[in-house]
Symmetry: C2
């Protein structure tokens, strides 16, 4: 019944995403769409990233949330270029929201833009925002079955971050099962294991710096 409307919405979204992508690529800004469940540590990863790279790169963050500005406030303490998007009851960001946020940033002085999507493993996957890469994030505390249960997150991601490795001694998590499910769904996707809380994010930083050098 509502399929034509949904198709129109997605087509319009794709058109705006293409405009965003053009605008960002012209300025050689690496743009990432960071997707993950509520509480997987997206903001903590960005805090750790800003601490490590904030004096080397010009970084901006667009943070999506239903109602609060808590993530943006946390990030603003470490980064002068943070734009908050409140989505109300909407479960993902769309390209037009990102377009409006871009208008509030000075793109000429930027190396890296991270769009922190709304905490949700499902809805953000289907919406192109104009990013170079979608990055999927899980936490060991969510269990080893998340890739198998949320396969589209995995297949759409250019890199997969597994956070909260500091909790591995305290949770039931079979790393072999997790790796096998990821490899089955997306054989060559880089799996970056980190503890954002402890600042142990080297695999992520290495991937990020390598991704900047790609055409």
């Amino acid at each position: 019944m509502d399929i034509p409307v949904v198709e129109n919405v997605l087509k319009l979204n794709d058109e705006v995403a293409a405009l965003n992508r053009q605008q960002l690529r012209e300025r050689h800004i690496l743009t990432l769409d960071l997707m993950g469940s509520a509480g997987c540590g997206k903001t903590a990863l960005l805090e750790a990233t800003l601490r490590r790279l904030g004096d080397k790169l010009h970084i901006a963050v667009i943070a999506g949330d239903l109602t609060t500005t808590r993530d943006a406030q946390r990030l603003a303490a470490l980064c002068p270029r943070v734009v908050q998007i409140n989505t109300g009851r909407s479960c993902h960001l769309d390209a037009n929201q990102v377009r409006q946020a871009l208008a509030r940033l000075d793109l000429n002085a930027l190396d890296l833009l991270v769009i922190e999507n709304v905490g949700n493993l499902i809805c953000p996957v289907g919406f192109d925002l104009g990013q170079d890469f979608k990055v999927a994030m899980f936490a060991v505390s969510e269990g080893d079955d998340k890739p198998a249960k949320h396969p589209y997150m995995v297949t759409e991601a250019a890199a997969l971050v597994l956070n909260k490795t500091d909790l591995l001694p305290h949770v039931p998590f079979k790393m072999d099962q997790f790796r096998a499910d990821v490899a089955y769904l997306h054989p060559r996707v880089p799996l970056l294991t980190v503890s954002a809380l402890r600042g142990e994010i080297e695999p992520w930083l290495d991937w990020l710096l390598a991704a900047r050098k790609k055409p």
Copy 2:
């Protein structure tokens, strides 16, 4: 643009939910819609519940997932009445999916029906399934800011389960902040702290058994 369509979808959903509710209430079946993030421990809570109450009550579970039957398989080991609904890419269950699942259950011999919704803090909130109560579930590993960031989950819930208390020594989680945010959003909602993994679920069992006695 698409608001009229959305309104029609919700109206149709509400009509089917009312049919479900009538069918379930006629048989005095307590029906819960269990909502929570992917990996918060919904299935583990139901496993622990089935271990504790499985020989006292006739319990059925309807489990929603995008693609796999992993949750249903786990629960079927403890319960003969499990129906799986695969939603594909849809981020929540709707009343019609529940209606189809009800047709596959013998409702005459049932005391309790738990509908385990798709792992998501946003989309399931807006859809009535015909339940008596919506139950919202968080885990301490997700951080203490989840009620504030997902307020509709809290305001719509008749009870709020906080799981994975066994991880409290290992994660940054301010219980006072969590409790204050919950109390601000929904002053009298019962907050049931549990460790499903350890089988420490007394507050949840007490609430469940009391809810059964309500008219």
